[in-house]
């Protein structure tokens, strides 16, 4: 079968033996799971035992592009990594933009499967002609800026790099993989998996052309998509001018901007760390991912670091108000160090926030205090190098709080720290966090869209009725979008029917919008089955007690808690799951998911 969009090839690298092989991928596998998250989930579910040790040789790491990666579709220059997470114990995927995904795909592969554990640190170089492992002893210990610089000197300026910093090497449970210096596969500790495998970096430099089945149709749909990207104030003005920090003032005004480890929901100093303030003070330019017209990355200039990629909305919040810190330069610098050392800025900030509350409650002595901005960068370095208190915090908020018998102060779901939205003022977001397969993630079902931004339509954010259906729809379609792979921001300008048409034009396979929903539902249920097999059953579909029991103390959401119980019941029923959260037989049969998990 002739393939368009896909190359139909996978590269398998066994780090234990050093064996590298090129494999054909079954076209049906690609048609059914598309790429990115879908393909990664399918490969992990089929090859990695759910009960395995995430740091062990049995665990694998799959890097996957999508059929749109490397085409000129706006927002398609992405790639994902999938594995079993050391932070959550769930199946985990994370994706990023930049240029790595495109240069990797153009080496001629849809998937890269990393298995085993290298006897010594190594890095992997992939081109169209060959793939080879090289010893990385001299790189081990280097941060990501240093690694990038050394390998570009060695391999050429045109390579693109995805790698880990000291945090990944030291197996910090929320270590990230960073590509192109600042594009993070942030969540879930995939950098720690890479560190456990002693794989420092992957350099890619492909130029192979991605074949398009129907270029004329693609031109037309891309043109139409571009019209809406230009028309939407979100993608043509808000994001290009302010980046994701455009959300700071908006969500603070709505009273869903958590402060002091979710003890309050409005931050008095929000404007000083907002997109508007960044634009007026430290912004020095902008840049975007491969082929993307939105260009949402803010470049900033700080006194200590020069011109760097500015912090995103989530990072500003996690390293700022979550820790009761409101100094923009401190936050920007802390974020820079997270990227440089290879740490997920959300989990870093929320874990520090948790420790701060333990100190406040008198449970932890000699720890960081709320509002203490002077020690933030030092603390981040301690975490990355597992030094002093950093060794404890490197375990993530759940394990830190458990150690002090105070799990209620860990703002996490399934071990993954909450992002920058207080779900007490966004009920659907609360259900989305609780049921997310990778833990508290805002991107699995971005309910802030309908509940706060009016995308695709505005719904009452405090209501719970009907939210289960909306959350499920978003979870399913986002799983498909993560498999194409498209940037979610493009989905703020055009609906998924555009994506189905783009996918059809690129691959020559007729996908309808409903096909994307079904593919997403299959991915979601396969992830669920994997997690259930790993022991994460219904009791894990919950939120921190604070969000269920403690009413918001200030702002427009004052007095609210998350009414999870009623939404969750409805959610299980809509999903076709039993009361224990297991998919019913008819659902498994309908989705053809039996026998996939190894």
């Amino acid at each position: 079968m002739s393939l368009f969009g896909w190359f139909g090839k996978a590269l398998r690298v066994n780090l234990s033996t050093g064996l590298i092989s090129r494999e054909d991928l079954d076209p049906k596998l690609l048609l059914d799971w598309i790429g990115g998250r879908g393909l990664g989930t399918r490969l992990i579910a089929g090859e990695v035992p759910a009960e395995c040790d995430p740091y062990g040789a049995e665990n694998k790491l799959v890097f996957a592009a999508g059929p749109l990666t490397g085409t000129r579709v706006p927002g398609s220059g992405r790639f994902s990594a999938s594995s079993k997470s050391p932070l959550t114990g769930t199946i985990m995927d994370s994706n990023a933009g930049g240029t790595w995904g495109v240069k990797y795909k153009k080496c001629g592969y849809d998937a890269l499967i990393i298995e085993g554990i290298a006897p010594v640190p190594v890095y992997l170089v992939i081109s169209e002609e060959q793939a080879a492992l090289h010893e990385a002893g001299d790189l081990w210990g280097a941060d990501l800026i240093e690694t990038d610089s050394i390998l570009k000197d060695r391999l050429g300026k045109n390579i693109s790099l995805a790698g880990i910093g000291p945090a990944g090497e030291n197996m910090v449970r929320f270590a990230s993989i960073i590509s192109d210096g600042s594009h993070a596969l942030g969540r879930g500790g995939l950098g720690a998996v890479m560190g456990a495998k002693k794989l420092k970096a992957i350099a890619v430099q492909g130029k192979k052309k991605v074949a398009i089945a129907n270029a004329e149709k693609l031109d037309f749909v891309v043109y139409e998509t571009g019209k809406w990207i230009k028309a939407s104030p979100i993608t043509s003005q808000g994001l290009p001018e302010f980046g994701t920090p455009v959300l700071v003032n908006l969500f603070n005004k709505l009273g869903v901007f958590p402060v002091r480890n979710f003890q309050a929901s409005q931050f008095s100093g929000a404007n000083k760390i907002s997109g508007e303030t960044i634009a007026e003070t430290i912004a020095s330019g902008r840049r975007g991912c491969y082929g993307c017209p939105v260009q949402c990355t803010r470049l900033i200039r700080t006194g200590k670091t020069g011109v760097i990629a500015g912090p995103e909305y989530e990072s500003i919040w996690a390293l700022g108000p979550e820790c009761d810190i409101g100094e923009l330069e401190v936050i920007a610098e802390a974020n820079y160090h997270c990227n440089r050392l290879g740490l997920d800025s959300i989990s870093t900030g929320v874990t520090i926030g948790c420790a701060m509350e333990l100190v406040e409650k008198g449970l932890l002595t000699d720890g960081p205090k709320f509002g203490d901005s002077t020690g933030l960068t030092k603390l981040i370095r301690q975490i990355a190098y597992r030094k002093d208190i950093g060794d404890l915090l490197a375990e993530g908020s759940r394990r830190v709080a458990e150690q002090y018998g105070a799990e209620q102060y860990a703002m996490q779901v399934k071990g993954l720290e909450l992002p920058a939205y207080d779900p007490r003022g966004l009920q659907g977001m609360g259900l989305g966090f609780a049921t997310s397969n990778r833990g508290a993630c805002h991107l699995r079902a971005y309910m802030a869209g309908p509940e706060a931004l009016g995308v695709p339509k505005m719904v009452n954010r405090f209501n719970v009725s009907g939210k289960a259906g909306l959350v499920i729809t978003q979870q399913n379609i986002n799983a498909a979008i993560d498999s194409l792979i498209m940037c979610h921001f493009i989905n703020l300008a055009v609906s998924e029917e555009y994506f189905a048409r783009i996918l059809s034009a690129v691959t020559g396979v007729e996908y309808q919008t409903q096909d994307l929903h079904r593919i997403g539902e299959r991915i979601w249920n396969l992830e669920r089955l994997y997690n259930l097999r790993a022991g994460l059953e219904a009791p894990f579909d919950t939120l921190p007690p604070r969000l269920l029991e403690e009413p918001v103390t200030n702002g427009p959401a004052q007095g609210k808690t998350v009414d999870l119980k009623s939404m969750l019941k409805e959610y299980y029923r809509y999903r076709g799951w039993d009361d224990s959260g297991w998919p019913l037989a008819y659902k498994l049969q309908n989705l053809v998911l039996e026998g996939i998990i190894c």
Binding site: A231, S232, P233, E241, F242, N249, G454, V455, P456, M458
Partner: protein
């Protein structure tokens, strides 16, 4: 202000000048603009649907604002308008698809508007092209039709911009009805307003 938006939003919808989620309203206050939220139902406006942002300068509320905000801003910057109504009146849209300008054939329409220009653009929604062309016409006319899309009307207050919108649709309905009669106009000639 909410009451004003609510009143004219509701009337626009009930008069069939907008469908459930179409159209937008705005007013200008100095260097600020209040505009309906993107995708708002004009027939059911609440305070969450009124978005305030800068006339020249963006702030975070830009991501909530109507898709047509760039056109509204351009109109305010280039005219003395203090209020804008954008609607999708069906007869006017139909007529805009076959005419380059709309000349009223009824007395009141002719007295009030004389002539309504029809503007063509390749992109008609949130369009940079309209941002440049539309204000030039609204310097001279109270209301302009964008071919196949809808009307933009200006005034010192929302009521007046609403009036031009309502008048336009009435004018177009009368034209439509008289054309279906297939008869000749008796002792009346409005073609002189082509030069208006």
């Amino acid at each position: 202000m909410l009451e004003e938006f609510r009143k004219y939003g509701r009337d626009l919808f009930l008069a069939g000048l907008n469908s459930s989620h179409s159209g937008n309203l705005s007013v200008r206050f100095g260097d600020r603009i209040i505009i309906t939220r993107r995708g708002a139902m004009l027939g059911q406006l609440g305070k969450e649907e009124l978005i305030e942002t800068g006339l020249a300068k963006n702030d975070s509320n830009i991501i909530l604002a109507s898709t047509e905000i760039r056109v509204h801003r351009a109109i305010y910057k280039n005219t003395a308008a203090l209020a804008i109504v954008h609607a999708h009146p069906v007869h006017a849209i139909a007529l805009s698809l076959i005419e380059d300008e709309i000349i009223p054939v009824d007395s009141e329409g002719s007295y009030l508007l004389h002539k309504i220009p029809v503007l063509s653009a390749e992109h008609t929604i949130g369009s940079q092209e309209l941002e440049h062309k539309l204000p030039q016409l609204l310097k001279e006319y109270k209301i302009v039709m964008v071919r196949g899309h809808g009307s933009f009307a200006v005034g010192p207050v929302l009521e007046e911009a609403y009036q031009w919108t309502s008048s336009l649709e009435n004018i177009c309905r009368i034209i439509y009805l008289t054309r279906t009669l297939r008869g000749e106009f008796k002792h009346i000639n409005f073609s002189k307003y082509k030069e208006w």
